[in-house]
C-alpha cells in the first residue's frame, strides 16, 4: 500500500507531507481499491482487524456524531467506540472535526457508516497519513523509497521482539497490506501506461517545434518559448536533479501572443503550469497550478485561444496520417532523426533499399511511439506547405519502395502532390503558409497515392499555373540528387542560369528539396560541386527565408569548415555565402560558435597593397574581401565583435583599409563602423591610424564607402583625440563636401553624424565655419528623415556654441525650422533640438525670433517629456531663453511697465524659474549662488506693497548678515521683486486656464483609465468596448483607440523590463513614471485635481508676513567673490515661477523629476562629486547643510544664501548690484521641495555639461523631506 501510494498516486506536492491527492482517474481507482479492501477487512480477516495500530490514524473527518450508531458512546459532538484496546483507550475517537482510529475493524466500520461519504473519508485519511502502514505497524515499516520492500524484510522486522501471537497477526497484516500494495500498483500501472508518458527527447522536439512557431509577423503563433535553464543534463532533463526525481523534465516559459507568459513544467506525467519558476530554488513555485495535459500543444491550446486557433491549421498533418502508415512513418522519421537530422531526403532516395531495411530493423524494437506527435510536427517543417510537401514526398517515396508493385505510380504522384502546392501558393501568395487551404489540399494529395492514374493526370492539368521555372528547377534538383559529379556540375551550372535573384526561383529550389542537396554537396569531396553549390547558395541566400532554411539545415557549419579549404574559390564563395546568411542573430551565433569568426579573420590575411596583382593575388584579395564581407555581417552581434577582436582582426582590418580596391574597402569599413560601437574598437581605430585611411576614403566617389567611412567617424568621434585626428587628416572638408549629396539619405545621415560629432571640438567648429558647413546644415533642416535631422541639429547645436555661428544660423533662417522641430516626438532629436535652440537663444536676436515662434513654450512643454535627457536639455535650453527674453524687455526700457502691459506670456514666468536656476550654473564666472527662500514668499504676494514690506523685512535681517555679502544689490532686487509680483499675478490667471484644460482632459480619460485598470491583464479593448468607452468618456472612437495605444506604449516605455505582464506594468507604472507624465491609476489623478491656486498656500503666504524670520545663511568663504553680486531677480523669479501651477501638483511633479534626475546625476557624477566635494572645501560642509536644513522639514523657516559672483550681462546692468539678502518664511514644506527640485534641475543641467572651467554648485536632495543638501562644485563649460 505504501509503495503504491508514494509512487502511483498523484499528489499535488511531490514532497511527502501535506500534499493532496489529485482528482485523477488513477487516484480514484486507487482509492476505490483501498476502500474495498478496508470495507471487507473486518469480515474477511476478523483477527487481524482487531490488531491495534502502533499509532492511530488521524484525519479531519466530515462524519458527525449523528452518523454513528450503537457500539459507540455519543456525548454531544464527540464519539467514542465501545471497543477499547487493552489499556482501555477507545479504538475510535471522534472530536469533530478530527477522528482517530486504532484498528482496521474500526476503519471498516467507519467506511460502512460513511456510506456515500466513504470515498471522501478514505481520501482524507490517506491525505493526512501519507504512509499509513508506518502508523499501523510502526515507523520501521515506513515505505522508504528505494529500500528493499520485500515481505521477508518486513517479516524479520516483525519478529524483533514481539509476542508470539501478536507477531502472527502482524505478519498476516503485513502480508495483506503487501498484497493490497501489489494489487494497487499493478492496477495503477495499467492506468498510467495508458497515458502518454513524455520523455526528454519528446519534450525537446516539441519545444524546438514550438520555437519555430515563434517567427515574426502576422503568422506567428507564439511570442517566445524559453527554457528556464540552459543547462541540459546528459539525460536530456533541464531540471535540477532533485526535481528530476519527480519526473520533471524541464521548465518552460512560453509567451503566447494573447495571454500572459505561461510557466510550464514538463514532466514524464505530462505538462502543467507551475507557480512561475523563473529561477531555480523557489520551493513552492514547483507546485502544479493547472491540470495535467498530455503534451505542450494541448496545454497551449487550452491556455491560449490564439494558439489553438492558429495551430489547428497545422493539425491536419496529424489527422491525415493513415493508420496503416503510421508506424512506418514514425519509424522512418526516427531513423532520420538519429542518423542525419537535417538532410535525409535525397539520401533516402539514393539508398532506398538500405533505408527500407533500416526501417525494418527500426521497427522491431518499437516503443518509440510516444515521440510521434512531436516528430510529425517537426517534419511538417516551418509551418510551410512546401516543406510539408517535401516531407510527404520523401515519406511517400519510402513507402513506395516498400510496395514494389505501385512503385512508379506513386513516385509520380508524390511529385504531383509536391508540385501542386507551390502552384497554389504562387497564385495566392498572401495565404498563410500552413493555412487551412494547404491542409485540405494536402490531405487530398496524400490519399492520392492509393488512387489511380487518371486522377493524377487531372491533377497535373489543374496545376498548369505553376511557373515553368518550378518544373525545370525540380528536374535539375532531381539530377543533382541522382547524378554523378559530371551531371551534378551540369545541373548546377544550368540552375545558375535561372534568375536566382527572383523569389519564385529561390523558393522553388527550397521547395523541391534543392537546399538540402546543395548543402549536402558542400560536404562532399568534389570541389567543383562545392563551388557550384556555393555559387547558387550565395545567390539564393539573399532571401531571408532561404537564409533561415540554410541555417536550419546546418549549412553554416559546413561553410565554416570550408573556410579552411586550400581552394581559394571555395573559400571566398563560402565566405560570401556566410556573409549573406549571417544576416540574422541565430546565424551569427552559429558562425561564432563553430569557430567561424576566427577563420574569417584569417581570410583577411593577404597582401593587397600592390596595385598590379597577379591572378593568384587577386584571388587572395577576393578571399579577403569576402572574409570582410562575412565579418561585416557577423559584426552586427556584440559578441562577434569581441570575437573578431580576439581573433586579431583589428590589425588585419587596418591593413586592408589601406587597400586601393574599393570593393575591398566597403566591407572593411563596414565592419569597422559596425564594430566602432565598441569602445575597444574605437581606441584601436584611433591608435592604429585608421582615421587617416577613413578620411582618405571619404574622398573617393563611391557613396557607399563614403557613407561607411562617415559613419565610422561618427561613431569614433566621440573621442576628442579622434576628432583632432580627423581635423589633422583634413577630413572635415570632405565631410562638408558630402553634405551636398542630399539625395542619398543614408550617406547624408552618416555625414551629418560625423560632422556633429566632430564639431564637439571647438577647433573643428572653427574649421566648419571656414567651410561654411552651417549654411548647408541649416538647409538640411527641412524635408529630411529623422536620422539626418538628429545629426544636423546636433551639429548645429554644437556649432552654435560660437557666437558667429549663431548669427549664421539666424541669417540662414535656421531658427524657425529648429523651433518647429521642437514639436517632434523623436527623443534623440528632441535632445539635440533643445540643445541647439538653447545655444541659439543665447544670442539676443535669435531669442527674439524664438520667442516670436513660441519656442519657449515648446521648450517648457518638453520639460514634461518622459525622457530625462530631453528634460535636461530642455531645461538647459530654457535658461538662455529666459535670460534673453528678459534682456529684450529690459532693453526696451520700462521693465515694469512693459511687463505689466503686455504680451509676455505666463509661460515665461514659469520658465524664469528654471532658467534662472540653470543659468546660474551655466554662468561661467559665477561661483556662488545666493539662493534665497525669501524670494519664494515674495512672489506669492499679490501686492507690490506687500512685496516691499517683505523685502524691507528682509533688509532688516540682512543688516545683521556677515559683511561679505554685498549690500548694493538691494535696490535692484527691490525692483525686480516688484516685477515679479506683478508678473505673478498675471501668470496665475493664465495658468489656471491651461490647467483647466488639462484637467478636463484627464477627467475625460478617467473612464478609460478605469477600464484599463480593470482589464489590466489584457488591456486591449474590443471594438464594442471602445465604443462604450467613447460614449462614457465623450471622446471619439479614434481618440479612445489612440488613448489606449498611447497608454500601452507609455506603460511599455516607462516600465522598461521586458516580459512583464500588463498588470504588473500598470502596477509599477506610477512608481516608474517620470516627470510630468500622467499617473495611471484612477485614484492618483486626485493628486493633480485641484484647480486654481492652492488656498492653503495663499493662507500661508498671508500669514507669513507677520513674522518674517530669517533662519540661516549658507555662505561661502569667498575669496572669489569679487562680486558684481547676485541679482535678486534670480532668486525672486525662481520662486515666482512656482506660483503659477498649483503648488501641490507642481511639487509632486518636480519631486518625481527631482528623484529621477538625481539618480541620473549621481550615477554620472558619482565619482566626480566625491572628489569635488572634497575639493571645494570652501563650501559649506555637508554637516552644516544638514543642520541648516533640518528645521525646514519641521515647517520652520529656512533661509540659505549662497553668495554668487556673477559676471553676466544681466547682472552688470544692475548698476547698484551687490549683495542682497532676503528673508523668507518657508512655512510650507512644499516650497522647500520646490527649491530642491529646482536645484535638482540645476544638477541635471550640470550633469550635461560634463567639462569646463567654471564652477558651480548643486544641491542634491535625497528624499521628499529634505534630509540632506549637498553642495557640490562642478566645473562648467565655458559658454561665452
Amino acid at each position: 500500500m505504501g509503495v503504491a501510494l508514494t509512487r502511483a498516486a498523484q499528489w499535488t506536492t511531490a514532497s511527502s507531507g501535506t500534499g493532496k491527492l489529485e482528482i485523477t482517474p488513477v487516484n480514484e481507482s486507487l482509492l476505490k481499491e483501498i476502500l474495498e479492501f478496508v470495507e471487507q477487512f473486518s469480515s474477511r480477516h476478523p483477527q487481524e482487524a482487531k490488531h491495534v495500530f502502533k499509532e492511530p490514524l488521524q484525519w479531519t473527518t466530515s462524519l458527525e456524531a449523528s452518523d454513528f450508531k450503537t457500539e459507540y458512546d455519543i456525548s454531544g459532538p464527540t464519539v467514542k467506540s465501545h471497543e477499547t484496546d487493552k489499556d482501555g483507550h477507545p479504538m475510535l475517537q471522534l472530536t469533530p472535526p478530527s477522528i482517530s482510529v486504532h484498528s482496521f475493524s474500526q476503519l471498516s466500520k467507519i467506511v460502512q457508516l460513511a456510506t456515500d461519504k466513504r470515498l471522501k473519508e478514505v481520501r482524507a485519511c490517506l491525505e493526512a497519513n501519507r504512509d499509513p502502514v508506518a502508523k499501523m505497524l510502526g515507523p520501521s515499516f515506513a515505505t522508504v523509497e528505494g529500500e528493499d520492500s520485500s515481505v521477508l524484510r518486513l517479516l524479520e522486522k516483525v519478529k524483533e521482539g514481539d509476542q508470539a501471537k501478536e507477531t502472527e497477526i502482524k505478519v498476516k497484516l503485513i502480508i495483506l497490506l503487501q498484497q493490497l500494495d501489489t494489487q494497487l500498483l499493478s492496477n495503477s500501472l495499467k492506468l498510467i501506461s495508458q497515458e502518454v508518458r513524455l520523455s526528454p527527447a519528446a519534450v525537446k522536439n516539441d519545444v524546438e517545434l514550438l520555437k519555430s512557431f515563434c517567427s515574426e509577423g502576422e503568422k506567428r503563433v507564439l511570442t517566445s518559448v524559453q527554457y528556464t535553464s540552459d543547462y541540459e543534463f546528459t539525460n536530456g532533463c533541464r531540471t535540477p536533479p532533485w526535481r528530476q526525481v519527480h519526473g520533471e523534465i524541464c521548465y518552460l516559459v512560453i509567451k503566447p501572443c494573447d495571454t500572459q507568459p505561461l510557466h510550464i513544467t514538463c514532466s514524464t506525467a505530462g505538462v502543467f503550469l507551475n507557480g512561475g519558476i523563473r529561477q531555480e530554488g523557489e520551493e513552492n513555485s514547483y507546485d502544479r497550478t493547472s491540470d495535467v495535459y498530455k503534451d505542450l500543444v494541448t496545454l497551449l491550446k487550452s491556455k491560449s485561444p490564439h494558439f489553438a486557433e492558429n495551430i489547428n491549421k497545422q493539425d491536419f498533418a496529424v489527422q491525415e496520417e493513415l493508420p496503416t502508415q503510421k508506424v512506418q512513418h514514425v519509424e522512418l522519421v526516427d531513423a532520420e532523426e538519429q542518423g542525419q537530422p537535417q538532410r535525409s531526403y535525397e539520401h533516402q532516395e539514393k539508398n532506398v533499399h538500405e533505408k527500407a531495411r533500416q526501417q525494418l530493423v527500426q521497427n522491431k524494437p518499437g516503443g518509440k511511439k510516444k515521440l510521434e506527435p512531436s516528430l510529425k510536427w517537426k517534419n511538417l517543417g516551418l509551418a510551410s506547405p512546401y516543406d510539408e510537401a517535401d516531407d510527404k514526398k520523401s515519406k511517400k517515396n519510402a513507402v513506395s519502395e516498400r510496395f514494389a508493385e505501385t512503385q512508379e505510380k506513386m513516385q509520380k504522384k508524390a511529385d504531383f502532390s509536391v508540385s501542386s502546392l507551390p502552384g497554389r501558393q504562387s497564385s495566392d501568395k498572401t495565404k498563410t503558409p500552413g493555412g487551412v487551404g494547404g491542409a485540405d489540399d494536402f490531405s487530398e494529395s496524400s490519399s492520392e497515392s492509393e488512387e489511380d492514374e487518371e486522377q493524377s493526370e487531372r491533377r497535373t492539368e489543374s496545376n498548369t499555373d505553376l511557373p515553368s521555372e518550378y518544373w525545370q528547377i525540380q528536374k535539375l534538383v532531381k539530377y543533382l540528387k541522382g547524378g554523378n559529379q559530371t551531371a551534378t556540375v551540369i545541373a548546377l551550372c544550368s540552375m545558375r542560369d535561372f534568375n536566382l535573384a527572383q523569389e519564385t526561383c529561390q523558393l522553388a529550389i527550397r521547395d523541391v528539396g534543392g537546399l538540402e542537396v546543395l548543402i549536402n554537396l558542400l560536404d562532399t569531396e568534389e570541389i567543383k560541386c562545392k563551388i557550384g553549390s556555393l555559387k547558387i547558395l550565395k545567390e539564393i541566400s539573399r532571401n531571408s527565408q532561404i537564409r533561415r532554411a540554410i541555417a536550419d539545415l546546418g549549412g553554416l557549419q559546413t561553410m565554416v569548415k570550408i573556410l579552411d579549404s586550400p581552394d581559394k574559390d571555395l573559400k571566398y564563395l563560402a565566405a560570401e555565402t556566410i556573409a549573406n546568411v549571417a544576416k540574422f542573430r541565430r546565424a551569427r551565433r552559429t558562425v561564432r560558435q563553430h569557430g567561424g569568426i576566427k577563420r574569417l579573420v584569417e581570410l583577411l590575411d593577404c597582401v593587397p597593397d600592390s596595385a598590379a596583382l597577379t591572378e593568384e593575388q587577386e584571388k587572395d584579395v577576393e578571399v579577403a574581401r569576402c572574409g570582410a564581407l562575412a565579418l561585416w555581417s557577423c559584426s552586427k552581434s556584440t559578441r562577434n565583435k569581441e570575437a573578431i577582436r580576439k581573433a586579431g582582426g583589428i590589425p588585419l582590418l587596418a591593413r586592408l583599409l589601406k587597400s586601393p580596391h574599393e570593393n575591398m574597402l566597403i566591407p572593411v569599413v563596414g565592419t569597422l563602423q559596425e564594430c566602432a560601437s565598441e569602445r575597444s574598437y574605437r581606441i584601436a581605430i584611433q591608435t592604429e591610424g585608421m582615421i587617416e585611411d577613413l578620411v582618405k576614403n571619404l574622398n573617393c566617389d563611391n557613396h557607399e564607402l563614403q557613407m561607411h567611412c562617415a559613419s565610422a567617424i561618427f561613431k569614433c568621434a566621440e573621442d576628442k583625440r579622434t576628432r583632432d585626428l580627423v581635423r589633422q587628416c583634413e577630413g572635415l572638408q570632405p565631410l562638408v563636401t558630402l553634405l551636398s549629396q542630399a539625395d542619398n539619405k543614408q550617406l547624408l545621415a552618416a555625414t551629418t553624424g560625423a560632422i556633429w560629432k566632430c564639431s564637439i571640438s571647438m577647433e573643428n567648429v572653427a574649421k566648419f565655419q571656414d567651410y561654411k558647413a552651417l549654411e548647408t546644415l541649416v538647409g538640411l533642416l527641412t524635408d529630411q528623415p529623422e536620422e539626418v535631422l538628429v545629426n544636423v541639429v546636433g551639429a548645429l547645436g554644437e556649432g552654435a556654441q560660437k557666437p558667429a555661428n549663431r548669427a549664421t544660423i539666424r541669417k540662414c533662417g535656421g531658427i524657425q525650422p529648429l523651433v518647429n522641430l521642437l514639436t517632434g516626438t523623436n527623443q534623440a532629436l528632441l535632445v539635440n533640438v533643445t540643445k541647439a535652440v538653447g545655444a541659439c537663444a543665447t544670442e539676443l536676436e535669435n531669442m527674439t525670433i524664438i520667442d516670436r515662434l513660441d519656442g519657449v513654450r515648446l521648450l517648457w512643454s518638453l520639460l514634461k517629456n518622459q525622457n530625462p535627457d530631453v528634460q535636461a536639455s530642455a531645461a538647459w535650453a530654457i535658461c538662455p531663453c529666459i535670460e534673453n527674453a528678459k534682456e529684450t524687455r529690459r532693453d526696451t526700457g520700462a521693465a515694469a511697465a512693459s511687463i505689466r502691459s503686455q504680451v509676455q506670456h505666463f509661460r515665461e514666468d514659469r520658465q524664469t524659474f528654471t532658467h534662472q536656476i540653470i543659468r546660474r550654473n551655466t554662468e561661467p564666472k559665477m561661483n556662488t549662488i545666493v539662493f534665497n527662500k525669501l524670494s519664494n514668499q515674495v512672489i506669492f504676494d499679490e501686492k507690490a506693497k506687500e512685496v516691499e514690506r517683505s523685502s524691507r523685512n528682509y533688509l532688516e535681517v540682512i543688516d545683521g548678515q556677515p559683511p561679505d555679502l554685498h549690500p548694493d544689490l538691494l535696490s535692484s532686487d527691490h525692483q525686480v521683486i516688484k516685477d515679479n509680483g506683478i508678473r505673478h499675478r498675471r501668470g496665475r490667471q493664465n495658468s489656471g486656464k491651461v490647467r483647466h484644460k488639462r484637467q478636463a482632459l484627464q477627467d475625460m480619460a478617467r473612464p478609460l483609465k478605469q477600464w484599463l485598470y480593470k482589464h489590466r491583464d489584457n488591456p486591449y479593448p474590443t471594438k464594442t468596448e471602445k465604443i462604450l468607452l467613447a460614449l462614457s468618456s465623450q471622446m471619439t472612437l479614434v481618440q479612445v483607440s489612440n488613448w489606449f495605444a498611447n497608454a500601452r506604449r507609455r506603460l511599455k516605455n516607462t516600465v522598461r523590463q521586458p516580459d512583464l505582464s500588463w498588470a504588473l506594468r500598470i502596477k509599477l507604472y506610477n512608481k516608474y513614471v517620470q516627470g510630468n507624465a500622467e499617473r495611471l491609476s484612477v485614484s492618483s489623478d486626485d493628486t493633480c485635481s485641484e484647480d486654481g491656486d492652492n488656498p492653503q498656500r495663499m493662507q500661508t503666504s498671508g500669514g507669513e508676513f507677520s513674522k518674517p524670520m530669517y533662519q540661516s545663511v549658507i555662505k561661502k568663504e569667498g575669496a572669489t567673490m569679487m562680486g558684481t553680486g547676485l541679482r535678486a531677480a534670480d532668486a525672486a523669479s525662481l520662486a515666482e515661477d512656482y506660483v503659477t501651477p498649483p503648488p501641490k501638483y507642481k511639487s509632486s511633479l518636480l519631486h518625481r523629476y527631482l528623484n529621477d534626475s538625481l539618480r541620473h546625476v549621481m550615477v554620472a557624477n558619482g565619482v566626480m562629486d566625491a572628489r569635488k566635494r572634497n575639493h571645494s572645501g570652501s563650501f559649506s560642509s555637508n554637516e552644516y547643510d544638514d543642520d541648516l536644513l533640518s528645521p525646514s522639514s519641521s515647517e520652520t523657516e529656512a533661509n540659505f544664501v549662497y553668495r554668487a559672483e556673477t559676471m553676466d550681462h544681466g547682472s552688470s546692468k544692475c548698476d547698484n548690484g551687490g549683495v542682497q539678502k532676503e528673508k523668507v518664511r518657508g512655512k510650507d514644506e512644499t516650497y522647500w521641495k520646490e527649491i530642491n527640485a529646482a536645484m535638482a534641475l540645476t544638477n541635471l543641467a550640470q550633469g550635461k555639461d560634463s567639462s569646463g572651467s567654471g564652477t558651480t554648485s548643486c544641491i542634491i536632495q535625497k528624499s521628499s523631506h529634505i534630509s540632506e543638501v549637498k553642495t557640490v562644485k562642478v566645473p562648467l563649460v565655458q559658454k561665452y
Binding site: 547524378g483 556540375v489 551550372c493 570541389i527 586550400p566 597577379t614 591572378e615
Partner: protein
C-alpha cells in the same frame, strides 16, 4: 652500366633542355624530372626502342591511379589527346607536352584539350550523340523509371541549352569555349579529364636532396623545399607505385622519386 647511366643522364639532360624550350610550362629541371619519371614508368621495358613510349594500358594506369579517373572512355580519349601522332604510344615528347597542358595548362589550352577529349569522332563538334555517350553513366539509374535513358536525354538537352549558343544542336569549339569562359565549372562538362584539384603537386627529386615540387595548381611556380606552402600530393607516388632508383655513376643512388614529404 655506369657509363650507360652517365650517358643516359646526359641524354636526359639534353632532352630536357630541348623539351623545356618547346614546352611552355616546364623548366629544365622539371622537364628532366618528368623524363626520368617517364623512363621510370617505362620501367623494365629493357628493350626500350626509340620512338616507343607508354602504351595505352600503362597510360591509363597512370590516369587511373594518379589522377583518379575512372571513365574508360574518357581515359581513352585522354590517351588520344596525348598521343598526338596517333601511333598508340605516348612518346617522351608527347608526355611532356601533354603533361604541360594537363597539369599546368592555361584555361585556353585546357578548353582546347577538353574539347579534343570530348569530341569523340574528331569532327570538330560535340554532337548530341557524343554527349549522350559520355553522359550515359552520369545518372544513377533508378529502377522506378520507365525509360532509363530519359534522364540522360534530358540532361543532354539541358547541357545543349546551356552551352549551344548558336543553336545548331551540337557544340562547336566556339560554343564550348564561350560556355566555359562564362562558367569555368563547365570545363569538364562531360567527364573528368583533368587532374583532380585535390592533388595539387607532384614532388620530384633529382637526387642531391634537392626536391622539386611539380605543382599544377594554377599560377604556382615550382617551389623549393623551403617553400612549405606548396601542398603536395602524397598519394601520387604511392598510386603510381613508383619508387624509382635512378642509377648514378658509380652505382650510387642518383635519386628517388619523392613521394610525400
Amino acid at each position: 652500366m655506369a657509363e650507360m647511366s652517365a650517358m643516359n643522364r646526359k641524354l636526359i639532360q639534353n632532352l630536357a633542355e630541348t623539351l623545356s624550350k618547346q614546352v611552355k610550362h616546364f623548366n629544365k629541371t622539371e622537364a628532366e624530372c618528368l623524363i626520368r619519371l617517364f623512363n621510370g614508368l617505362l620501367g623494365d621495358q629493357s628493350d626500350r626502342r626509340v620512338g616507343n613510349g607508354l602504351d595505352r594500358g600503362k597510360f591509363r594506369n597512370i590516369l587511373h591511379n594518379t589522377f583518379g579517373m575512372t571513365d574508360d572512355m574518357i581515359m581513352d580519349r585522354v590517351f588520344r589527346a596525348f598521343d598526338k601522332d596517333n601511333d598508340s604510344y605516348v612518346s617522351v615528347k608527347e608526355w611532356i607536352e601533354g603533361l604541360s597542358i594537363f597539369l599546368r595548362g592555361t584555361l585556353d589550352e585546357k578548353i582546347k584539350y577538353c574539347f579534343d577529349v570530348y569530341d569523340l569522332n574528331g569532327d570538330g563538334y560535340i554532337s548530341r550523340e557524343e554527349m549522350f555517350h559520355m553522359l550515359k553513366n552520369s545518372l544513377i539509374r533508378q529502377p522506378t523509371e520507365e525509360d532509363p535513358d530519359e534522364g540522360i536525354k534530358d540532361l543532354v538537352e539541358i547541357t545543349l541549352k546551356k552551352m549551344d549558343h548558336d543553336h545548331d544542336s551540337r557544340l562547336s569549339y566556339a560554343d564550348f569555349e564561350k560556355a566555359v569562359r562564362d562558367e569555368n565549372l563547365l570545363l569538364e562538362a562531360f567527364g573528368t579529364c583533368l587532374p583532380d584539384a585535390k592533388n595539387l603537386a607532384l614532388e620530384l627529386s633529382l637526387g642531391h636532396d634537392a626536391h622539386v615540387f611539380l605543382s599544377w595548381t594554377r599560377g604556382r611556380s615550382p617551389a623549393n623545399e623551403e617553400d612549405h606552402k606548396v601542398e603536395l600530393s602524397r598519394q601520387l607516388g604511392e598510386k603510381l607505385g613508383l619508387c624509382i632508383l635512378v642509377s648514378a655513376p658509380g652505382g650510387a643512388k642518383l635519386g628517388k622519386l619523392w613521394v610525400g614529404r
